[in-house]
């Protein structure tokens, strides 16, 4: 039977959620959308009904988040909770009904990206875990893993640097390139911690699109056939030296606007 990460929301009858919940995680520009666009028709050809969803797309809060981000004025805790609201709305109004109807739900990111973003901004991990503890445990989390060096050309040569993807709200550097490096590096180290804690299935996303897709399809097929997942990979060490996974990086803000109640 399906489980949550802690608390169960009112009216959510877990026994009825017979579909499969499959998460594609990974940082900005790693190719999640491309991969989902390949997975969906592949599943449908096999006769599986697929619901595709992603973060900040809820009908309740999606627009509000976009507007608020335009102004760049959201506080860290506020932003975390806004994403939490959006997530809850999608969980209750999209994911749960689809699971109840026996769909395969493919979600572009899940709580892990949202948790990583919050933790990089110095928010207490235990608090963030509690906020998202109503989330359903997925059947599988495929984490598209990439190093910063492989990520940069993909982002720069496709759409350029984005304010939020570069963590510019944290002012790590005046320069977008430096900011992007620092911010994405910190995010990736948070993801490595989460990968261990939540048992992600790690996919090397530096491979070409077709190889990644083949790897994902094999993983998804295994989940759908009910076979146990392959034993967990140990996290491959990237070329450059990286801190041990347990000490995930947090971006230090210049003026540490500490959370409420700080001395």
């Amino acid at each position: 039977m399906r489980e949550t990460y802690g608390t169960t929301l009112p009216g959510m009858r877990l026994g009825e959620l017979t579909g499969k919940l499959i998460v594609i995680e990974g940082t900005d520009g790693v190719g999640r959308t491309t991969q989902i666009n390949l997975l969906k028709p592949w599943l449908e050809q096999q006769g599986r009904a697929v619901l595709e969803t992603g973060v900040s797309r809820s009908s309740l809060a999606g627009k509000g988040i976009k507007q608020a981000k335009e102004g760049h004025t959201l506080g860290r805790i506020t932003l975390t909770l806004f994403y939490g609201t959006d997530f809850a709305d999608r969980l209750e109004h999209e994911i749960v009904p689809a699971l109840r109807a026996g769909f395969v739900v493919l979600t572009d990111r899940y709580i892990y990206s949202l948790m990583a973003r919050a933790m990089v901004r110095g928010i207490d991990p235990a608090w963030v875990r509690n906020v998202y503890s109503f989330a359903l445990k997925p059947d599988a989390v495929f984490y598209l893993r990439i190093g910063v060096d492989d990520l940069i050309p993909r982002v720069v040569f496709s759409r350029g640097f984005d304010y939020w993807e570069s963590g510019m709200d944290l002012h790590p550097s005046e320069d977008m390139y430096e900011s992007f490096r620092k911010y994405q590096g910190a995010l990736l180290s948070q993801f490595d911690v989460l990968a261990e804690q939540y048992g992600f299935d790690i996919v090397d996303a530096s491979m070409d699109i077709r190889s990644v897709s083949a790897r994902l399809k094999a993983g998804v097929a295994r989940v759908l056939s009910g076979e146990p997942p392959e034993p967990l990979f140990s996290i491959p060490k990237p070329k450059e030296a990286v801190e041990p996974a347990t000490e995930a990086k947090v971006i230090q803000m210049p003026a540490p606007a500490k959370a409420a109640g700080a001395d």
């Binding site: 802690g6 608390t7 169960t8 929301l9 009112p10 009216g11 009908s59 309740l60 809060a61 627009k63 509000g64 507007q67 608020a68 102004g71 004025t73 959201l74 506080g75 860290r76 805790i77 506020t78 975390t80 909770l81 806004f82 939490g84 609201t85 809850a88 709305d89 969980l91 209750e92 109004h93 110095g122 928010i123 207490d124 608090w127 509690n130 906020v131 503890s133 109503f134 606007a257 500490k258 959370a259 409420a260 109640g261 700080a262 001395d263």
Partner: protein, 227 residues
């Protein structure tokens, strides 16, 4: 991130809590007048006032698309925005901050809607602990009479209509308020709320309130602006 700790900002935070019709807003308004006359830098922080989140909340309520979970989270988001951008800076600046409703309102409402009490308390772990939290205790029938006399109609979520307690708005409201009242009573010892008997004459309640506030401000003389 420190949780719900006793803040060490120079300002003071006074909050009023109680069910609708307990008279808490009237009492806070009278306290505000007095504090200003006494020369304290006093600021009123309203519930539901964050411009960033307001549109989303309004949409959710108007279209009745809020569930207990999203109702809880959108209000927490709104509260966080006020906490980060309004209440904390004001307390740092040494202001006396007055809040009509605070986290206890959320605890009561969300738990009545079926949310896990522990989860909700933890959700608001970033909130500053008030200097004093006043709870205006009033019997349900007294509060109901005050409200229904003065109002033309109840709003959907206000009456707890989303809980399906009754088809009738007034009846739904009464059942909802009764459950909220039970939650408040549980919180009195848990959070050491300062109870005011809200059936007393208005002036008497205000005298008690001012005494309590005065005692807390005595340790913060430097807040005083020269008249």
């Amino acid at each position: 991130m420190k949780r719900y700790g006793e803040h060490r900002f120079p300002g003071k935070l006074f909050v009023v809590e109680g069910i609708d019709g307990s008279g808490k807003s009237t009492q806070l308004m009278l306290l505000h007048q007095w504090l200003q006359a006494e020369g304290y830098g006093t600021v009123f922080s309203e519930w539901n006032s964050s411009p960033l989140v307001k549109d989303t909340t309004r949409r959710g309520k108007k279209k009745q698309m809020l569930t207990p979970a999203t109702f809880s989270l959108i209000h927490a988001t709104d509260f966080a925005d006020r906490m980060e951008h309004n209440i904390i800076p004001l307390l740092k600046a040494g202001a006396v901050v007055l809040c009509d409703r605070y986290i206890y309102t959320a605890f009561a409402r969300d738990v009545v809607r079926g949310m896990d009490p522990k989860w909700v308390r933890e959700l608001y772990g970033f909130a500053v602990k008030p200097t004093t939290a006043f709870y205006f205790r009033v019997p349900l029938d007294v509060a109901m009479k005050r409200i229904l006399d003065g109002r033309t109609g109840l709003k959907f979520y206000e009456a707890g209509m989303d809980l399906g307690l009754s088809e009738d708005e007034e009846e739904s409201f009464a059942i909802f308020q009764e459950r909220i009242l039970e939650e408040y009573e549980k919180m009195v010892p848990e959070f050491d709320l300062t109870v005011i008997d809200a059936t007393l004459p208005i002036e008497e309640q205000q005298v008690i309130m001012r005494q309590v506030v005065k005692a807390k401000l005595a340790q913060a003389k430097r807040l005083r602006v020269a008249p």
